[in-house]
């Protein structure tokens, strides 16, 4: 019997375990395996193989079950009452990449839009692919303003890792030389269309501090040999990205990091594996491994490793840690600071401005650019001119111009209407803000033992809201956008004031923040759990502040940096 147990333990022992296979988990898997560690990736959902498991990727408009590929209201209500809140992402074409809310309940003390995909690749298949660096304006902000805690790193610590990640994933973009939106390793930028070019020229003439650039997007426009060797190719401008890209043109775990990891021969992916807790060893003060609920059998299995990376997403990594109770950690694994599950951040959005752009009727474009324009933050940059008295931090705009096709209101019926709809509609321009949310300790999730999921596991209760600072910023996000469109001479400029609930930015962050002091933070400068240094958390949970830029690039860079640290520390016998 003892032999059997020893053998079972050996079979379930790896050098590294990665929990989750999304955008950061894929990076942990790639880096750990490339550095020679036998690595087990535990994924709670099913396998999604690159290309072969993108069933809708090549579906033509007429190969649809429902009009426009929209799902019936009854299906939405029954299975996707939360996922539908994005308003656009969940369709017949992408349905298999979203969780069914009825199978994954949570409790909203206040509204929280928790948009999820449980499968290999996670939301790296669904992300909007906008890719921006944080700067020292972000890393120094908390310390400067006395908000939350100080980041334990500065731009110089992460800059080489941004380079490293961008070189691998491929980012198309334009260098702008802005200190607060550092340039990166870019492939050729995508083109602006006529109206966007004129918006840039006219708005910048009036507001020189509001730079307008093409979005920096994780799409290959000039693939490197390394990327092509992984089977990835150039962006074909189909803009069907969220179905999975058969050209491997946008970065996902499935198209890139997991492929690279698999090629090392050191990777094992185990699907249907719900990690329920970290196994803490009181004697060694290290984690021995993790407990898994095997979805197929309902049985508990333990896996062991020297190094553990939690990459289950900000909220699920926090859930695992909160659910990992031991004598040493009665309030959740690594939670000496009581910061676990707190300081939840997102990016607030939904406000901006829109206008019509007459005078360009003879111009159009070809191809469907999976990207828009970007206007980097121009408020509170540290100088007097950009200083706001009504709020701290700032926002960026994403937007663009385009002409609607037949899918627009057109009165009447008959041949005239058909002819009108066969031509493009009027040029429309939109700018939508993405604003920074401050870390508030009482914006938190807690473990709910009364509401259980289908496996009998506790669930999360959310209590998250935006406050005065964000609301003041939102007013500025509207009026500043409108004045740029006015300055560009566009017509019918109107402010947009859309619906926003925390989570809708799909940028959840902050539940196990990095910091300098174990008393006030969960993770240290290399994403190690302060109190258990062979466990690293490198997804959105680690974020100490949110910046206003899309966060995935920073998760990836933090992950690569943390793996480098972990492998060195392990060699030195420190883990």
């Amino acid at each position: 019997m003892a032999n059997l147990n020893t053998r079972a333990r050996q079979e379930n022992t790896y050098e590294a375990i990665v929990v989750g296979s999304g955008i950061s988990g894929g990076w942990a898997a790639k880096e750990l395996t490339e550095k020679g560690l036998k690595t087990l990736v535990l994924e709670r959902g099913p396998m999604v193989r690159h290309i072969t498991d993108y069933p809708t990727a090549a579906a033509a408009p007429w190969e649809t079950k429902y009009p426009r590929g929209k799902l019936p209201d009854a299906t939405m209500k029954a299975h996707y009452p939360v996922q539908v809140r994005t308003g656009y992402a969940l369709t017949e074409y992408t349905q298999h990449f979203f969780v069914k809310d009825d199978e994954h309940p949570y409790t909203e003390e206040k509204r929280f839009d928790w948009i999820r995909g449980y499968h290999v690749g996670g939301r790296s298949l669904l992300w909007a692919r906008q890719t921006y660096r944080h700067s020292d304006l972000d890393f120094e902000a908390n310390a400067r303003e006395g908000i939350g805690v100080d980041w334990p790193i500065r731009y110089a610590d992460i800059a080489p890792w941004y380079d490293y990640v961008e070189r691998f994933i491929g980012v198309s973009g334009q260098k702008e030389g802005l200190p607060h939106l550092p340039d990166g390793v870019f492939q050729p930028p995508m083109e602006m269309n006529c109206v966007e070019k004129d918006l840039k020229a006219r708005s910048e003439a009036r507001f020189p501090d509001r730079r307008i650039t093409i979005g920096r997007a994780a799409h290959l426009t000039a693939p490197t040999e390394e990327q092509m060797a992984l089977g990835r190719g150039k962006c074909q401008h189909r803009n069907l990205c969220s179905r999975g890209c058969p050209f491997g043109a946008y970065f996902s775990s499935n198209s890139a990091t997991l492929v690279a990891a698999e090629r090392t021969g050191n990777l094992k992916i185990r699907t249907g594996s719900i990690v329920t807790s970290v196994i803490f060893n009181e004697k060694t003060n290290k984690a021995d491994g993790v407990r898994v609920l095997d979805e197929a059998t309902g049985k508990e299995i333990e896996f062991y490793a020297d190094v553990i990376f939690l990459n289950a997403s900000a909220l699920n990594s926090a859930w695992i840690m909160m659910n990992s109770v031991s004598k040493r950690f009665p309030n959740g694994f690594g939670n000496d600071s009581d910061q676990l599950g707190r300081n939840i951040m997102d990016h607030h959005l939904g406000v901006g401005a829109a206008a019509e752009a007459p005078g360009y009727e003879e111009m159009y474009y070809s191809g469907r650019r999976p990207n828009g324009i970007y206007i980097p933050r121009f408020r509170n940059l540290g100088d007097a001119a950009s200083k706001r008295s009504d709020y701290v931090r700032g926002f960026g705009y994403q937007g663009g111009a385009g002409r609607p096709n037949w899918d627009r209101p057109e009165p009447g019926f008959g041949a005239d209407r058909k002819a009108a709809l066969s031509q493009p509609g009027p040029w429309l321009v939109r700018l939508g803000g993405f604003g920074e949310i401050l870390p508030y300790a009482d914006n938190r999730v807690t473990l709910n033992h009364k509401v259980k999921d289908a496996h009998g596991l506790p669930t999360l209760t959310f209590n998250v809201s935006i406050r005065d600072n964000e609301n003041a910023m939102r007013r500025d996000m509207k009026s500043a956008a409108a004045e740029m469109l006015e300055a560009s001479g566009f017509r019918n400029v109107r402010e947009l004031d859309g619906d926003y609930g925390p989570g809708l930015g799909i940028h959840e962050m902050g539940t196990a923040r990095m910091g300098r002091d174990p008393k006030t933070s969960v993770l240290g400068a290399f994403n190690q759990v302060h109190a258990c240094t062979n466990v690293y958390v490198t997804d959105g949970a680690a974020m100490t502040s949110s910046s206003c830029v899309n966060p995935s690039l920073t998760y990836m860079a933090l992950t690569a940096r943390a793996v480098d640290h972990a492998v060195s520390a392990r060699k030195r016998g420190e883990l």
Partner: protein, 213 residues
């Protein structure tokens, strides 16, 4: 998957080689020509009665007639609408659409003493003009086109108001069905499944029509 359009052959035979253009449609207003009912429906309704289906077969073609490009019937739109009513529409909308199709026939009989499908095109169009007027409510949704990116605000606008009159629902389904059909998407507008490059400033003349997607 949308079934292949079995009406294709019938439609071509019915046209008997005539090129039905924009002008030809208007020239045919006095006779049951362009949108006239087929003797036998070329598709089997799932949600509609055969009377409603016959009316739909004609109304769809009146909403998107054959011109220099195929019309709704040849593109299989009536069957698409029927299937949407059967599998997609909310119950209230499905009820409104079915009742609306029945009402068209009842109105035709009340006004002209004959079923809608047997009226002249001019009379059919005049009846539809009445329903069209009902859709012109002052609260009609503002023109918000689709964004051409998947990012940001453009796709996060609020839904249209609830409960539009049946003709608005019907026009919507016929229009979607037509421009997402193989014939509509590839002939009436331009469909390019794999554009390759993106070019931001191209004279519309070089492209000619709106993009299908």
């Amino acid at each position: 998957m949308r079934p292949e359009t079995p009406s294709k052959i019938n439609r071509r035979q019915a046209l008997a080689g005539a090129t039905l253009t924009f002008g030809a449609l208007w020239g045919s207003l006095s006779a049951p020509g362009a949108a006239a009912a087929q003797g036998v429906l070329a598709w089997t309704p799932k949600a509609l009665t055969s009377d409603q289906a016959r009316v739909l077969d004609v109304v769809a073609e009146l909403i998107v007639p054959a011109t220099d490009t195929p019309g709704a019937r040849e593109a299989g739109v009536p069957a698409f609408v029927d299937r949407a009513i059967a599998t997609f529409c909310a119950p209230a909308d499905a009820g409104a659409l079915k009742a609306g199709l029945s009402r068209i026939d009842a109105d035709a009989r009340a006004a002209h003493g004959a079923g809608f499908t047997t009226l002249t095109t001019a009379r059919q169009m005049a009846l539809l003009a009445v329903y069209e007027a009902e859709t012109r409510a002052p609260s009609a949704p503002a023109a918000v086109g689709r964004g051409d990116t998947e990012t940001g605000l453009s796709n996060r606008t609020a839904a249209a108001p609830k409960g539009p009159p049946f003709f608005a629902l019907l026009k919507e389904l016929v229009t979607v069905g037509y421009f997402t059909s193989q014939l509509g998407a590839t002939r009436a507008v331009r469909y390019d499944p794999v554009p390759g490059d993106y070019r931001g400033c191209v004279p519309l003349k070089q492209i000619g029509r709106a993009w299908a997607t």
